[in-house]
């Protein structure tokens, strides 16, 4: 921060490249004051939340089916592996043709981006369940539901959480890309507008907002991880 301020003040970093921290703060303040930023935040967050929820639901459903039943694996895994191989940004034009340039395109793009890493990690975790513990479940005569609740889900959880973190990182990336391509609202819209009018400070504010959102979600998942995986540590509960 100090280096940035110093470089700006001395003119080593011209304001046409990037504004000084003061300028950026001032720009941020204006955006917050007139309610633009909070409105954009709500719009962008709504896209991400909807996309993530949809993606998580799809990944969990497909992942459980593919990971737990042989025919599900045969049926679902090849298309999923294909989905992984196709670069997401490549399908953007196709999606615009299919779903238009409205909200649904952005939400579906985020959902797809979220689904793939979570699905891959979840199925890998489900395939890695210790067969010896599976045998214990047999000898204890656990019902299907008990087996799912006490063995399958807890065993798959660490892998699923890794997938979740990857997924959320992807969600923000896809949001940025889809908002840059077209948006009439949201953080990407503010950034795009600022670009048209060469308002560098505002672009920086937008980028910082994206970064903070990304950090915040990562922090949330880490906390979930610590709570859910207490049994791996040494501390008493």
């Amino acid at each position: 921060m100090a280096t940035w301020q110093l470089a700006s003040s001395t003119g080593a970093l011209p304001a046409t490249t990037i504004g000084s921290p003061q300028d950026v703060t001032a720009a941020a303040w204006v955006l917050i004051e007139d309610g633009q930023l909070s409105h954009a935040l709500v719009v962008s967050l709504r896209r991400v939340v909807l996309g993530v929820l949809l993606g998580l639901a799809l990944a969990t459903f497909f992942g459980l089916v593919a990971g737990l039943s042989p025919w599900g694996d045969v049926l679902l895994d090849p298309p999923m592996q294909m989905a992984r191989a196709i670069p997401l940004y490549g399908v953007v034009p196709l999606f615009i043709v299919w779903f238009g340039i409205g909200e649904s395109t952005k939400v579906i793009l985020i959902a797809l981006g979220v689904m793939v890493p979570l699905y891959l990690n979840l199925t890998a975790a489900l395939r890695g369940i210790d067969p010896e513990l599976s045998e214990v479940a047999d000898t204890l005569r656990l019902t299907r539901w008990e087996r799912l609740r006490h063995l399958v889900l807890p065993a798959a959880l660490p892998g699923a959480l890794v997938g979740l973190r990857l997924s959320l990182a992807v969600a923000w990336l896809v949001l940025i890309v889809s908002e840059t391509i077209n948006a009439e609202s949201g953080i990407g819209f503010i950034v795009n507008n600022a670009r048209t009018f060469l308002q560098n400070d505002i672009i920086v504010v937008g980028l910082l907002t994206y970064a903070l959102l990304g950090l915040a979600t990562d922090y949330l998942v880490r906390r979930m991880e610590r709570r859910a995986l207490r049994w791996q540590g040494g501390a008493t509960r």
Binding site: E132, E135, A137, L140, H150, R230, W231
Partner: protein, 229 residues
């Protein structure tokens, strides 16, 4: 209910696991199975546990078998108490699990994660998990082999004690001839998947390591295993 095996065999292509086993085990009877590595002990135990669907021959197994494996195989994400209570039916499963944990000497450790317990403590949780189901056949596959000598002696005493109280039929797979003589009424010897020796121990055999009668039987069984004592 007696457990009955007639002509029970198990093989994987050309590998023979069990070959033509005839065996009856009475209610509450304690049986040890000894034999060299690869002689089919675990294969027999898995057949009796109902874990092996590939066996041929006639097997009338126990109604409610319970298994303790060589390693504890606890669910690491469940507390000691939850591990014992897992899948337990009937009234007050958690209270029964708690009482059983106390019986194996783990009162006060109900909330510990498996990772927080010592090897011997984990194995006792596994024992509690098996016994709380009130099995009519308790299957133990070298349950003490991973324990140090001192812990093993107390774990053996615990099994003897628990059997006195619950009286399930018991099948103990072991490498340790002395352990077989101390804990059971009958010793089976397997070799290459065959049952080659079946010896009932006299009811008055003193269960002490240094007793001359027990030492003599131990020497005899070791000779049968091809080891000169």
């Amino acid at each position: 209910m007696t457990i009955v095996l007639r002509g029970v065999s198990r093989s994987w292509e050309e590998i023979v696991g069990l070959s033509d086993i005839d065996l009856d085990i009475a209610d509450g009877e304690r049986v040890a199975v000894i034999g060299r590595s690869g002689s089919g002990k675990t294969t027999l135990l898995r057949a009796l546990a109902g874990l092996d669907t590939g066996i041929t021959g006639e097997l009338r197994g126990a109604a409610a078998p319970a298994v303790v494996f060589q390693d504890p195989r606890l669910f690491p994400w469940r507390s000691a108490l939850d591990n014992v209570a897992l899948g337990l039916r009937g009234t007050d499963p958690r209270d029964r699990a708690r009482a059983m944990l106390a019986e194996v000497g783990l009162h006060g450790r109900e909330d510990a994660w498996p990772r927080q317990l010592s090897g011997g403590q984990r194995q006792r949780v596994a024992l509690a998990r098996a016994l709380v189901r009130e099995p009519d056949l308790l299957l133990l596959d070298e349950p003490f082999s991973a324990l140090d000598a001192l812990t093993r002696v107390s774990a053996q005493a615990l099994v003897a004690d628990l059997w006195e109280r619950h009286r399930p039929a018991l099948l103990l797979v072991t490498h340790d001839v002395e352990e077989a003589l101390l804990l059971t009424d009958r010793v089976l010897l397997l070799a290459d998947g065959r049952l080659v020796h079946d010896e009932r121990l006299p009811a008055d055999l003193p269960r002490r390591r240094d007793d001359p009668a027990l030492v003599a039987r131990r020497a005899d069984l070791l000779r049968r295993l091809g080891v000169e004592p």
